[in-house]
């Protein structure tokens, strides 16, 4: 079974993140790049599927040169090879353009399952998985808390507000995972050494068959008009509990008409 796992590099949430005043896009130089957390869960799930059903795990990343670090990290977790979609023309692509570009890149690969995170920590649009399924015309098995593959059939538990839906489809399919699905492994020293030798194929627009008129900031389907620091919250009241803390909150809530 061939599995492609989509891995995105994002700015580390622990560092300060900024937008660039010049074009209102994310300033990727301003912060350290790390693998989007949910993508680590996607890699883990891909590795577990491989361990159960055999086959190969290919990492697919779209991003600038810097994203190579995240690709190596994914390979050191145990993925077999990687494809790096990297082209200046992709800069500033929005979520749907990203889904389109990833869909085109996927068409150049052989796969039974695409596994991805359900959301990234920077954009948080939560649409890439659904949009990708739409572009590829494949079953959308997103928000999976559990994945079972049996021959050509796949079944997931799709997380909902009330619990989960059991969803069935035939492979190939697009799967996105949520945090509860597994516990990502740490790369072992041996795997880290091996990862350095694993093949990373570069892909540009032409190689992926991406229409340049459909990607990049100039063709974005949404535009950020402006941005500003959020107004700071007015300093609140902090009291030490001297035995009446609960009553003091009740007083505050009553003032605010919550009770």
């Amino acid at each position: 079974m061939n599995i492609v796992v989509l891995v995105k590099q994002v700015p580390d949430t622990a560092t300060e993140r900024k937008l660039r005043a010049a074009d209102n896009t994310l300033d990727r130089e301003a912060s350290d790049g790390v693998i989007n957390e949910l993508c680590e869960y996607a890699i883990e799930e891909a590795l577990q599927l491989k361990e159960k059903h055999g086959g190969e795990v290919t990492v697919l990343t779209m991003g600038p040169d810097k994203a190579t670090d995240s690709i190596r990290k994914a390979l050191s977790m145990g993925a077999d090879k990687a494809v790096h979609l990297n082209d200046d023309a992709l800069h500033g692509s929005d979520a749907l353009q990203t889904a389109y570009a990833l869909a085109q890149a996927l068409r150049t690969l052989e796969f039974d399952i695409v596994v991805m995170g359900s959301e990234s920590t920077d954009a948080r649009t939560g649409v890439v998985g659904a949009a990708l399924a739409e572009y590829l015309g494949l079953p959308q098995l997103t928000l999976a808390g559990k994945v079972d593959v049996d021959g050509g059939a796949i079944k997931i538990q799709r997380q909902t507000d009330y619990g989960y839906d059991v969803v069935e489809a035939a492979l190939p399919a697009v799967v996105s995972v949520v945090e509860k699905i597994n516990e990502p492994r740490y790369p072992s020293f041996k795997l880290i050494m091996q990862a350095k030798k694993k093949p990373v194929t570069k892909l540009d627009l032409a190689g992926a068959g991406i229409d340049a008129a459909k990607v990049g900031l100039a063709n974005a389907t949404t535009t950020t008009v402006d941005f500003a620091a959020a107004p700071p919250r007015a300093a609140g009241v902090i009291v030490k509990d001297e035995g009446g803390g609960g009553a003091q909150i009740a007083e505050f809530l009553a003032e605010k008409k919550f009770v």
Binding site: T13, L19, N24, L38, D94, R124, T125, G126, V127, A130, A131, E134, G137, L138, P139, Q140, L141, T142, G145, R158, Q159, D161, Y162, G163, Y164, D165, V166, V167, E168, A169, A170, A173, E179, A220, T221, T222, T223, T224, V225, D226, A228, A229, A230, R233, G236, I238, K240, D241, G244, G245, G246, A247, Q248, I249, A250, F252, L253, K256, F258, V259
Partner: protein
């Protein structure tokens, strides 16, 4: 006036508050037309009329039997047929997915997780853990916008809510991912987390899987219960109640945090709450910096007292 399609969020005919909010926002843009999927429209229509829905398009329950794709087909074909000015959906996890697929079908742009929207379709986002506000517009096609619950205050206005059945058929492609079972995991009869006007969350400070101190306070306020990731990871509270960057984003009128330090990843999910109250032993906890009212003390003493005080005032 062009129609603005609003996808109705309802549970068995019970219309959610976010739908009233979306109808209110839609009225500033054009003529609100509600899109109903499933049973219960006859009963739910009244609520839609109260918030100004001129029309209600009703699609059969079958549209709900498959993951997302049929609803996107429905919205895209209605938008084309009616020349809609915009499509608004709730920014629930599924709402965002519906928005994404609909936009792909229409060749439109999509904005999700919007915290404000005006009559010119300028949408506001709160990004980077609430530290930055951005404004964005859709630059291509019919704008598809997913709005976070509690972002717009719902204002009543009379609408005809004229019912119209839709003739859209679900394509075979859209039937590729079939829902074969729905499993409800116990959550009591508290309001839904993302929608709730008040949320009471517990963190590592709760100290054990006995979350009753949090639940009792929540129930005294008619609030939803949330949890930090530390509490969820410890197995004290189910996953779907996690608030934060990798959990739910909430924007209630009141957020009470019990024993939560306020890591940036937690704040990302609650920072747009209108009023924030915290109880924490540690006067240095970062959450206190964004709280409107905070008590430095033991939550196991402060919260029960608060619950009791509220009961007295009811």
């Amino acid at each position: 006036m062009a129609e603005v399609l609003v996808l109705v969020d309802h549970v068995d005919g019970d219309v959610k508050k976010v739908t009233a909010e979306l109808l209110t926002a839609a009225r500033r843009i054009g003529e609100p037309a509600a899109v109903w999927v499933g049973d219960g429209a006859a009963a739910g229509k009244e609520r839609l009329a109260e918030y100004g829905a001129a029309k209600v398009y009703v699609a059969p329950a079958e549209f709900d039997d498959y993951v997302v794709a049929p609803k996107a087909e429905l919205l895209a074909s209605l938008a084309q047929e009616k020349g809609a000015a915009a499509i608004l959906v709730s920014a629930s996890t599924e709402g965002k997915e519906i928005a994404g697929r609909t936009a792909v079908k229409l060749g439109s742009g999509v904005l999700t997780d919007v915290v404000g929207i005006d009559g010119e379709l300028v949408a506001e986002h709160s990004v980077f853990g609430g530290s930055t506000l951005t404004h964005a517009k859709v630059a291509a096609g019919v704008p598809v916008i997913a709005v976070r619950p509690n972002s717009v205050s719902a204002e009543p206005a009379e609408g005809a809510a004229a019912e119209e059945a839709v003739s859209v058929q679900i394509s075979d492609d859209a039937k590729a991912a079939k829902v074969v079972e729905r499993v409800a995991q116990a959550k009591g009869d508290r309001p839904e987390l993302a929608e709730a006007a008040i949320v009471v969350s517990g963190g590592r400070g709760v100290g054990s899987e006995d979350f009753s101190v949090v639940e009792a306070l929540a129930d005294s306020l008619g609030a939803a219960v949330g949890a930090s990731r530390a509490a969820v990871d410890s197995g004290w509270y189910p996953n779907q109640f996690q608030v934060g960057q990798t959990g739910k984003t909430v924007s209630p009128n009141l957020y009470i945090a019990l024993g939560i330090s306020g890591a940036i990843q937690h704040r990302a999910g609650m920072q747009t709450s209108k009023t924030i109250v915290a109880v924490n032993k540690d006067p240095e906890a970062p959450l206190l910096e964004i709280s409107d009212f905070a008590v430095v003390g033991d939550l196991h003493k402060v919260a029960p007292q608060l619950t009791e005080e509220i009961a007295k005032r009811r």
